[in-house]
């Protein structure tokens, strides 16, 4: 049954009210126009307050399904193992793929590993919905909107949910479902580039910022503010007697954040970072997006998801993983180090989550196919580092201990950042729906 919320960012606590005063005091007039800028962190009192209070989640989602064999659960020397060796990690007795030397040396500091059993391994939204149905009488939300809603600071004008991707195919976008479109993300997707001969398939150009997050030349700032004032006036008049209309609230909320979004443009600009920092994250699109994600987290965006695509390696699995896993190793390591150095990791949960896992069997094309078992990682906020929960047999074909369901994984994520995973939210028809299914238990072993 539901229990009371244990969220750490309860808005009515004295500590939080103090935080809000510090927040306004630190940002001054700039905040009246909208967003929290990074300049706010020039005031140490405010930065400390934010760091103490606000929980955030940064998810790295691996579209297409990364191989657990070539990453967190290697089986070298077995028929299913593939060509890569394993290396010891800083967690005694735990080995990971040789493709991840940076994580191997630091994994004990912040990270726990979970073995997940999805129950279904294919290209669908199944994973990001936590195994709940996408359609039906209840329009369930995906994980991101639930986290964004529960973690968002109601007074913040920064975006509350941002998703990056480098992929033009099936990204499995977050969906707020019955929570209302307010909690849907800003999706930052690549530009499509037409193919040039002899190729028949085009390319993509990755974006680091949402398009059109500034005013067009034809519209002055004053004009825009006047229009917004008129919209508010009309909207308030229309809203009389409709205070429980979810669609209306979502609509108004989205418009209300426009100024905040525009004022947040600098958050998406990695040119604001030093050359040294940009170099540290690397020149790849994934590295750059991770750096922008860190900027957003630092500014108080409660939920950011960075997709790294495309791991669906039915052919040439080892060639692709040899290229992509070291990049993940690098970016994840740098991200954790950077967040730690900034004092943010204590309140930021970093998750690596995959669309699915890959089969133990290696097919004729030297690929691995879809598999409903994978390994995920949880680092930082609320996590007991150095825990490896669950194990698989010698060939990685089945769990031996500690297999975790998607609902349990979601519950664990929520509990790590102080959200009551059994909290009920009323559906559009008034029916209470828990954040995770009734009876779901988080994995206590990995929680601090």
């Amino acid at each position: 049954m539901p229990s009371s919320s244990s969220r750490a960012v309860a808005s009515s606590s004295p500590e939080h009210l103090l935080g809000r005063r510090a927040f306004f005091g630190a940002t001054g007039g700039a905040l009246l126009g909208g967003a929290l800028g990074l300049d706010a962190f020039a005031a140490p009192a405010f930065a400390n307050q934010l760091q103490r209070d606000q929980k955030r989640v940064l998810m790295i989602f691996l579209n297409g399904g990364m191989s657990q064999f070539e990453s967190w659960d290697p089986k070298p020397g077995r028929p299913t193992g593939g060509p890569f060796m394993s290396i010891p990690t800083s967690i005694p007795g735990y080995r990971i793929s040789e493709l991840m030397p940076r994580m191997a040396s630091s994994i004990h500091r912040h990270t726990a590993i979970l073995r997940c059993q999805q129950g279904f391994g294919d290209h669908t939204d199944f994973t990001i919905y936590g195994g709940r149905p996408k359609t039906g009488p209840v329009r369930y939300p995906t994980l991101g909107p639930m986290l964004a809603r529960e973690l968002a600071n109601p007074n913040s004008q920064v975006p509350h949910h941002v998703m990056f991707t480098n992929y033009l195919g099936a990204n499995y976008f977050e969906s707020a479902g019955f929570l209302g479109t307010t909690w849907n993300p800003i999706n930052i997707v690549p530009d499509r580039i037409a193919p040039t001969a002899p190729f028949t398939i085009g390319h993509s150009r990755v974006r680091l910022a949402p398009p059109a997050n500034s005013l067009p030349d034809s519209l002055s700032d004053a004009d825009h503010r006047e229009r917004e004032a008129l919209r508010v006036q009309l909207s308030q008049r229309f809203g009389v007697g409709r205070s429980r209309d979810g669609v209306l609230l979502s609509h108004s909320g989205a418009y209300g954040r426009v100024r905040g979004m525009m004022d947040s443009a600098r958050l998406f600009d990695i040119e604001q970072e030093s050359t040294q920092m940009r170099t540290r994250y690397g020149s790849t699109p994934f590295g750059q997006q991770a750096l922008v994600a860190r900027r957003l987290i630092e500014a108080g965006v409660p939920y950011v998801r960075v997709n790294r695509s495309w791991w669906d390696h039915h052919g040439q699995n080892f060639e692709f993983h040899q290229e992509m896993v070291p990049e993940l190793d690098h970016v994840l390591s740098v991200l954790l180090e950077d967040l730690q150095e900034r004092g943010l990791l204590r309140n930021t949960l970093v998750v690596t989550f995959s669309e699915m896992g890959r089969t133990p069997g290696i097919n004729a094309a030297q690929g691995r196919d879809h598999f409903a078992r994978m390994s995920v990682t949880l680092s930082g906020c609320g996590i007991r580092p150095g825990v490896v929960h669950g194990s698989t047999n010698d060939d990685g074909t089945a769990a031996v201990t500690g297999s975790v369901t998607l609902q349990q994984f979601f519950a664990t994520v929520m509990r790590a950042v102080g959200i009551d995973h059994q909290k009920e939210i009323n559906n559009t028809d008034g029916r209470p729906v828990p954040l995770t299914d009734y009876g779901t238990e988080p994995v206590a072993a990995v929680l601090a």
């Binding site: 060796m85 190729f199 695509s309 495309w310 040899q322 094309a365």
Partner: protein
Amino acid sequence: MSHCTLSALSVLLAATSVFAQASAVPQTKLLREVGVGPDLLCVATIPGTAKAYAGGTDGKIYLIDFDEAKSKPIAWDAHVSYVSGLAFTGKHLISAGSDRQLIWWDVSTKTKVRSLEAHDKKWIRGVALSPDGKILASVGDDMICRLWDAESGKPIRELKGHDKLTPYGLISKLYCCRFSADGKYLATGDQAGIALIWEAASGKQVAKIHAPHLYTSDTNGHTYGGIRSIAFSPDGLLIAVSGNLAGDTSTIVNSKAMAQLFDWKANKQTHDFPIKINGFFESICFHPKQPWLIAAVGAGEGKKVFILDLRKKAVLHEFLSNTLVFDIALNESADTLIAVGRKKALRWQLQTGGSTP
């Protein structure tokens, strides 16, 4: 990966330009098909015999006698990961592996003579033996081609010139190397589609070829492709590279296997063979007496070997391989072709037949 037997071919080729001849009609006949447990990634023939060594994904080296009606390969544990390259000097068998080891074997006893971690703790992708059998070249993911005394195992020199990162900032790979028939030059090919030509005696880089379309980044965010095999024409004037018309998905569905040839001294592309079959040309080999490039399909779904007519710039002949092929080798008289691949090793008779009109 392994290669055609160059030492004998160099003699045969010295006085003739095969490209000036009319193409003959190739005829192929499967002589033997040998089933093996793991996938076989590389092969080295034993001159004067119907035998060959093959390296497996189980870390074993297999000695296969294709004359035996029911061949039962002799196998021994060689590496703790995939065997990625083999070269046979006549005295030693030298194997390379994903376990980073370069190992000299006494083939009579199947014992190690020496073992080297040759490429800075990186994968070794392949090896090639000079035509005189004195120099071994190895390539690895440190992006260096290293030359070794094939007898003593002493390092001779390092050939550095391939970029460590791809144009997309990811880790690159140095897939293949091959000597010219006269032993003067060595060619290396990397993931980004760059082939470098080196003067074997001095180690000087003498040419850089960019093979277009063998590497790209697609809409899926994949960087993709690479030069998987490389070979000099018998007269040494052309360099052939092979792989895949990159730009499709990781499923390799509908992608074309591709081979391209270049006049490397002029830095000019001379041939382009995009073949509509699902896969990569994982291994290529020039025929020493005919204007043919033999290209085998691996790593996809197409199970064929192609004989490409360099004079007509067209497919001359194709035949089923019954498996994905990861490496091929001609014997010294070029009348048999051995292929190894997905759980099989095969040997064909290769006849040139009559000339085309």
